[in-house]
Amino acid sequence: MVARVAGVFNEQLTEAIANSKILVVGAGGIGCEILKNLVLTGFPSIEIIDLDTIDVSNLNRQFLFHKEHVGKSKAQVAKDSALSFNPNVNIIAHHDSVISNDYGVSYFKQFNIVMNALDNRVARNHVNRMCLAANVPLIETGTAGYAGQVELIKKGLTQCYECQPKAPQKSFPGCTIRNTPSEPIHCIVWAKHLFNQLFGEEDPDQDVSPDTADPEAAGDAGASALSAEGNTAGNVERKSTRSWAADTNYDAEKLFTKLFGDDIRYLLSMENLWKKRRPPTPLVWDNLPGKDDAPIQHSGLPDQRVWSVHECAQVFASSCSALQKDLKSRPEGDHLVWDKDERSAMDFVTACANIRAHIFNIPLKSRFEIKSMAGNIIPAIATANAIVAGLAVLRAQSILKGEIENCTSVYLRPKVNHRGQLFVPERTLTAANPKCYVCAPKPEVGLACNLKALTLKDLTSAFKEGLNMQAPDATVEGKGLVVLSSEPGETDHNNDKTLEQIGLNDGCALLVDDFLQNYEVRVRLQQEDEEKSWRLVTDADTPMPAPKEEEKSANGSNGGSSGNDPKPGPSRPKEDSESDMEIVEEDDDEPTMKPPKRRRTAMSDEVVELC
């Protein structure tokens, strides 16, 4: 199959396209557009991978899908639709996760170019490593609202996706969430934690009850409450929230009275907290604001109306009962997973967040707004995706033409810059960070932790979450002693032992590798008594500046980083943001010769730190 009409491209490019094989990872907003462009241009051999299925809210931009396709595989439907544009193309669709043993280095090696059209960092990191290992050029794309970018990643030529530290996930101190919320997002985070406590996977870091170990509260009158009821873990000693709720048969009034009455009164007893803050007001179930209000005229979407506290309580009751029913219908031990698109789950979080907001004198939000914040929605639109995908395929053509050196990153700006540019290419390829713990010739990273407290299990999650490995194996450098094996059962018996107990000490180095990613990194252990969990230490550790405010608004997102600790800490990526983007930023103010600054911001789920 040839690039379809001779003469559109010069002979060299026509030939190169005719012999090419392309992998597209992701069949969402950008993936659909890329696939269309490839097929129309006459790229003869394409594979597309996506594990997702089609949702109604995709249809405003993922134009290869129509209403009748809702619920079906994105990859498969994208393939079928694209074939109708040009039946002479060979497309293989995989309804699958790209992070799988089926797509190893040799799989990646068969492609001339890999094009990423992903919506999450974990998969981007993984494909980055696979392309580095396979030495295949990767075109990385993303959009957020009106903005977007296209970036080439090629081993030995450019920086890789992980060369620059990413903005950390937004996090809030646990005591802010549990004791002293001051913004709507604090109440939303609390409400999502409450959902998990009652119906989801119970996580001790997501406790929703008053935190008596709050350093601010320590040593005050609340201490009396502490000694009476508290335990050393800082949690009020009582049954788990879930079993307590089950005992009451999820009785809405009882749950309400505990969460929004008793617990608040308990917080009030921690008097130090309220010396400089407005104290919260406990609520009483049958006397809630807005009870007797006449319905007010509302223009706008129904979801954009802010419910009264009374209405929130009603929704709380009805969603509780629906969720309990759902939970009961599942096999013993199973749990619900919070999903912004599940009506009851979203209703529950809206109601609880608003009731709590009212208690703490925080403005109430509509279900529409809370959905954006709780679901990390970065709005995506057809036009920005079309532009970015178009640029990506033009870049792919340049690579095939042998002009890879010209394929600098291109940014689609939400508004033109001072030079009137809407698409801004960088002047030069961005060189790799020589200290990158992924693409450097000898990758190395430090891991600061308390060896006396960190268990092998924690270490595994540090490798998985911090270093984005899928199945890490670790040996002690120089000794060859296997500390951690990805083979089930081989090292599991050590899971609860601390690093010290298995003989690891300060300064010792582990060789950690992931077979699937063909990635090995040397990890130096650094003893830090104060470190409660773990954090990565890279030589290039310079604090990341906070993202420009302008960028935040342009993204229409409420997240981004906030100039916190720059190191990718023990963050737990839960749901990924569901937009087609996570990276946007570029700094092109003055023409200078220094390497362009660039920053990635991510809308990501919140993480609660223990305090």
Partner: protein, 339 residues
Amino acid sequence: MVENNEMELSEAEAEQYDRQIRLWGLESQKRLRAAKVLIIGMNGLGAEIAKNVILSGVKSVCLLDNEKLKEIDLYSQFLSPPDKIGENRAEASVQRAKALNPMVEITTETKSVDNLTDSYFTQFDVVCATGLKQEQLERINNACRDSNKKFLCGDVWGMYGYMFADLVDHEYSEEIVQHKALKRGPDDTEKTARETVSITVKRRAIYVPLQNALSVDWMNPEMRSRLRRGDPSYFVMKILLRFKDEYNRNPDPSKRKEDTAILLRMRDEIVKELSLPANFIVDALLQDVFGTVSGAAAVIGGVIGQEVVKAVSQREPPHNNMFFFNPLKCVGFVELYGQ
């Protein structure tokens, strides 16, 4: 001017347009839903614009084309299935256009623009023209302008493309982000939090007609100083419009060699006429202008589609008045010509 339709959005609309409403707001979506758009020229670029505009959720889109679908169309025009070669391009595109968004009314017109009266064009809120000659573009632009209707045009030649917009006298709102220090209470000694507040300001943009933008006096010192900035994309457009005028067609991939020679000759003429610096318009720019490259159509179609959304929703500053995509540098920029 598109009037805001006071009718509330249905649940189906709210669901389908959820993500874009989160970006541009409900008000914009209501305005979009009331807008009637005409798209002239069902080539690759026309199809891209149609896709973007239909997905945005306008009231109606009319596809106007009097040409037959050819094989060469198929490598950028995805709205027409391959088995409809020989049929009218607008009619061949209807079915897929409808499938993109069943909530949008799709109609067709198969007459040539030359056989349609001015009042035909002014029944639409926005007219987007592609694939026409300069003289046809100017006529439709003037008709729209006289009735205060928005006019956009553009073309893609190979990998290169441009857009022109005449939104006449355009009012819009723009969100400006401001920083505000936050204090929670009089005794709040905690670090003062900074809050970003976005406020909406009303703005106005005045446009000029296409003929002004295309008849710029390059002897004027202000214009000459622009040459120093060095992007020749405006002149590439001039050369290609001239080619179309003289030969009544676009450069043909099957005559790549001959047509390149013609383009280079026209380039030399224009350089002479406008006293442009030698080598200002490099040969390479005129070698990638054959057919319609799908990626470039997507890029220009994306820009034009977004400008239609801005024109209708009256939100965010629209480009005034020309946009160019220079594929050699992969740069896309906006410049004002003719004012």
